[in-house]
Symmetry: C2
Subunit: 204 residues, 2 copies
């Protein structure tokens, strides 16, 4: 009886590995779960995981990517919501993904593969937010500062889950600052050179 014959479809096994890795990484951490124990928990050889994901860091990236795909689908349904509602959704969502994001951050200094992926994602989120804010009437300068501030705060939320009591206040502070600033604009400016933003900054 050939033991190394495939009994399930490759993508099913791939999903199995991802599910087991998600569970393990979140419960026991990245360094806390060895490839050997992970393989054993699924019932495959250690090298099978290597075959599907090449190495541990790529397994991590694939894992987070899969989670992000689910999140994107959900977020796209909030197109019509207010900025604070969207911030609220992102807040809850980020908290759910917090442990995973933390693991990614933990690998950024050690693995340039993870770092490259993380930086790319970060950049994409930044551009996306910026575009959303400008659609809603923010000046370019406002959009820069607000997206950056929001991202920094999100980082803080993720890395310091113990401070969750303060999160709502900080978020409210941020959201109301942004919304009042946007309200004061009177409408989207079509004079990009004008310094109507209350924040005076060097040009981008």
């Amino acid at each position: 009886m050939p033991r190394n014959k495939r009994e399930v479809a490759p993508d099913v096994k791939r999903a199995e590995i991802l599910a087991a890795a998600l569970e393990a990484f979140c419960c026991r951490g990245y360094e806390g779960t060895s490839m050997a124990s992970l393989a054993e928990s699924i019932g495959v050889s250690q090298n099978t995981i290597s075959w599907y994901f090449t190495n541990k860091d790529r397994l991590l990236i694939a894992l987070v990517e899969a989670q992000l795909q689910v999140a994107r689908a959900e977020y796209s349904r909030l197109q019509a919501s207010s900025i604070s509602d969207r911030l609220q959704w992102i807040l809850t969502y980020i908290q759910g993904l917090g442990p995973l994001i933390n693991i990614v951050h933990g690998r950024v200094p050690a693995s340039q593969e993870v770092r490259a992926w993380h930086d790319g994602l970060h950049q994409r989120i930044l551009i996306f937010f910026r575009a959303q804010l400008m659609e809603r009437g923010a000046t370019p300068a406002q959009a820069d500062v607000f997206t950056q501030s929001a991202l920094f705060v999100f980082e803080g939320i993720v890395t310091h889950p113990q401070d969750l009591v303060n999160v709502e206040k900080v978020m409210y502070f941020l959201a109301s600052s942004v919304e009042s600033a946007l309200g004061a604009n009177g409408g989207p400016s079509d004079d990009p050179g004008h310094e109507s933003s209350s924040i005076h900054l060097p040009g981008t």
Copy 2:
């Protein structure tokens, strides 16, 4: 000729190890520097480091603690400066320590020893900032939100050094928000029993 006789005073050797570890951790990262290579670079046995610092994580903690001591001495000379000047100092200082702080964050998920130390430090900084802000006339509620916001932003700065172009803007946004809010207070409140703060902090 006895090779394991101590030639230099213990605290000198301790400092030697710390200096070599600082250099190595910053250049090659935490996981990138093995205890073996670190020991070799100093010219001692691998176990000598273990004897002084017990394990790698405690070595890291001792390292950061030493750097913090230097920073504290410098900061204490800024008592009379404005809030934005102090934020500016902290900004520059944090950027210098950035790589080290990143390493600490990277170890937080894996090592509960590092996590406990980090959380303690974080709490102390929070309480310290809060007190400083209230001395300058912030209400308890304001102090809570502002210190938390500032800490989140600092986290963001440290974890995303690639966004340094935007840092000054975000800092200015933060500092001016805080200062204008403080200016609007008219004076410090002397009613500590009032429940304007929803955060109950244990004393130091």
